[in-house]
């Protein structure tokens, strides 16, 4: 067991003020050699802010930081890197326009006479990525790869940089089980090597699986630090939320499947090079869960349904009419809604207020001329802020200042405001804290009960199981299985993903 002498990085009294909001209030924290330290807290508790301060991305408004007993004050992330602190920040912060190997080694490329040795860099990049089981063209631009791969690159980069401390801010949010396993293996090796590892996540299972010690933040205060062995799940949740989580374990969804009217049926919908033609029927009052590995084409299927990409094969049948949805606008006018998976890039309007972010889809549907006035907007926004418990200082706050989970709720509110009949949620709980997670799951069920049809894409099988009336599984860009009723269990889904049995889709 690590002792106090093993402290590598220690911070005392960290305070951070954004405008008139204090994000951190006198937080003390210390990280020890050979220890995995989980940093937990609700969305907006201040975890990422703390990390950014520890690594020089933000300057604190109060407090001190010591690295191996020496006071340090980083003004740039570069200084932290140079002293052996490697960090993966929450949003994938890489350079999409540069090659994978540049992303891994920028600033550290092997060079002679000031010239970068490209082939050596590439070779190093290949070796590094091989540890993660990734064999990709490291000379291709990063943007040509999926979020998952980008996440792995970011992790690999941080690991390479971390001589003493490795900080991972929600590294597993866009990884699937298999990749998470790989990552954990690597973390264990690093731990054995004596690194201090800081790990932020909202998956409590992972906390218990991996970490040695836990620090919980709430509202910018440190609630406490405990060895993980001294905690159980409920205790941990209570520390985070300051109350117990009310559990609604719905179990498998009741009510007979195939019950409601068919809202929409998809016939041979496909796009060359994107999704193979697929058939699907979606009924009112039903949640269709979509499972599959990363890159299995789930997002692509959703984009086709919503008209972001235009299908070159097949059509949707809706209201007895067969039609190809050619634009998001058409989809919206049909009463569809879509929460995209990449919240930052495709979801939020960062500089606009929470109010504007909530009313925008509704306003887009009304057209530019029939404007909602400010009071109407405030009322709508206020209702949803309350209904979804969106934590924001006011409806006028720019949405980019909200924590990730709250941003997700804002986007959900945006679509609910349009009173949709069909909603596609792509990874709605990614990066969301346990409390909000439970709320969103509950909300999905409630929406279903209200008669909405939902398609929910998720990589978390437990979650899918908890709200789906039906689960379809995708593999290699094709719809390969459909599970109903008692078949909806994590293990059956895993089997279907792996391609064993249950092939009841023709």
């Amino acid at each position: 067991m690590a002792t106090a002498e093993d402290v590598v990085l220690e911070a005392r009294g960290i305070t951070k003020i954004f405008g008139n909001h204090t994000a951190l209030k006198g937080v003390d924290i210390s990280f020890r050699r050979g220890e995995v330290h989980a940093l937990l807290g609700e969305n907006g508790a201040g975890k990422s802010t703390l990390i950014k301060i520890l690594t020089g991305a933000y300057t604190p408004d109060g407090g001190t930081i010591e690295l191996e007993g020496q006071p340090v004050s980083f003004t740039t992330p570069q200084q932290a890197q140079a002293l052996g602190i490697g960090t993966v920040y929450q949003e994938v912060n890489l350079l999409p326009n540069m090659t994978v190997s540049d992303n891994l080694f920028i600033g550290r490329q092997p060079s002679a006479f000031g010239m970068v040795n490209r082939s050596a860099t590439d070779a190093m990049a290949r070796t590094v990525l091989a540890q993660y089981g990734l064999d990709i063209d490291v000379r291709a631009e990063l943007s040509t790869y999926s979020v998952a791969i980008q996440q792995i690159v970011a992790i690999a980069r941080a690991v390479e940089l971390s001589g003493k401390v490795l900080i991972l801010d929600e590294p597993t949010a866009s990884l699937d089980r298999h990749e998470v396993e790989k990552l954990f293996e690597i973390i264990r090796t690093l731990k054995a090597r004596g690194l201090a590892i800081v790990f932020i996540t909202h998956f409590l299972d992972q906390v218990f699986e991996l970490s040695d010690r836990v620090t919980v933040l709430r509202n910018g205060f440190r609630v406490g630090s405990e060895p993980v062995s001294a905690l159980d799940r409920t205790g941990l949740v209570r520390m985070m939320l300051g109350k117990d989580l009310v559990h609604h374990n719905n179990g498998p969804v009741d009510g007979e499947p195939d019950g409601g009217d068919v809202l929409m049926s998809v016939r041979q919908l496909g796009l060359t090079g994107s999704v193979l033609p697929l058939d699907l029927e979606i009924r009112k009052g039903e949640v269709v869960g979509v499972a599959g590995l990363l890159g299995s084409g789930r997002t692509e299927m959703a984009r086709l349904m919503f008209g972001i990409d235009v299908a070159d094969n097949g059509a949707l049948h809706i209201d007895g009419e067969s039609r190809v949805v050619r634009s998001a606008r058409e989809a919206v006018s049909l009463g569809f809604g879509f929460c995209p998976e990449d919240r930052k890039a495709d979801g939020i309007f960062g500089d606009l207020s929470v109010r504007e972010n909530i009313v925008i889809a509704m306003q887009a549907r009304l057209g530019w001329f029939r404007a909602l006035n400010r009071d109407e907007q405030l009322e709508i926004a206020g209702n949803f802020i309350e209904a979804l418990d969106i934590r924001t200082a006011s409806a006028e706050l720019p949405v980019k200042l909200l924590s990730g989970g709250n941003q997700q709720k804002v986007i959900l509110a945006r679509w609910l405001a349009t009173d949709p009949r069909f909603l596609i949620l792509d990874e709605p709980t990614r990066g969301i804290d346990v409390g909000a997670h439970a709320e969103i799951v509950r909300m999905i069920s409630r929406l279903r009960e209200d008669g909405l049809a939902l398609v929910v894409i998720s990589s978390e099988l437990d979650e899918i199981v908890s709200y789906s009336s039906r689960v379809v599984v995708m593999r290699d860009r094709a719809l390969v299985a459909e599970l109903r009723g008692a078949d909806i269990t994590p293990s059956r889904i895993v089997q279907a993903i792996a391609g064993q049995g249950v092939e009841n889709v023709a």
């Binding site: 003020i17 408004d61 972001i308 989809a331």
Partner: protein, 334 residues
Amino acid sequence: MKRLQLTEIVRPQLLALACILLLNWFVFPGFFTITWQDGRLFGSLIDVINRGAPVAILAIGMTAIIATRGVDLSVGAVMAVAGAVAATAAVAGQPLVVTLIAALLVGLLCGLWNGSLVAFLGMQPFVATLVLMVAGRGVAQLITEGSIVTFSDPALIFVGTGSLLGLPMPAVIALALMLAAHLVMRRTAMGLFVEAIGTNRSAASYTGLRTRTVILTLYAFGGLCAALAGVIAAADIRGADANNAGLWLELDAILAVVIGGTSLLGGRFSIPMSVLGAVIIQAMNTGILVSGLPPEFNLIVKASVIILILVMQSDRIGEIVARRFARLKLRGKT
């Protein structure tokens, strides 16, 4: 209604304008003198709003374009084209309505051209409008054959030099246009759409906004504004000077928008503030004229003033001040 706070009223722009006016007064004590003469107001301040009107009108059109992360470099050239068209029509004896419609239509077409390149061909606004910036002046010269086409249609001349309620026509037009544009943006959802597109175009299209149509409309409106400014500029000198009308005014217009606080990276915008920016620029220009400084110094004065204004409104400086302040408060508490 939103309660206005002190910090929202005392914008750095107003402060900058006050500083410049004060400076002007310092170099020329008669700066604030306004007299009534021949049924109109007369004085340096009136000159500021009168001369600032064309750039203000350009800025009105440019603001929303910049708010979508675009830019329109062609406005100066479009001014020249519209002026040339108006002059040619006036010389041909067309009535004012026809002249105006013809000129504005040409401006609209230019705007639609720019807008299509940006919205539908996906060209970068800077280069897309660079094309018309270069070629447009050629078109204007083609219309006038390089000479100044002088006209004497009193109705058209009135647009540039007449006055309404004692105020110069160009300023009246600019003011009316500003109000109209502001109302359209803020009383309809257009402003919200523009800001949404400028903040995150991808998210805007996921939301079901017609991003391309909106962008096309904005460029078309920009062309229209440029044409109006061109007509005013031509009417002012009773002739279309295709070679020089609107030359480099695109830079002034962009500057006005930026001084007005709209970011070149898109997002939030304010049309009245852009107009204020145009007034600030013109106040500086008029100040240079009445100061009696040798013309060699014009550019340096201009550059220094711009730098000063930018420093004044730099949010970074505001941030540093705010942080100092917050720390003081913190210390006070403990």
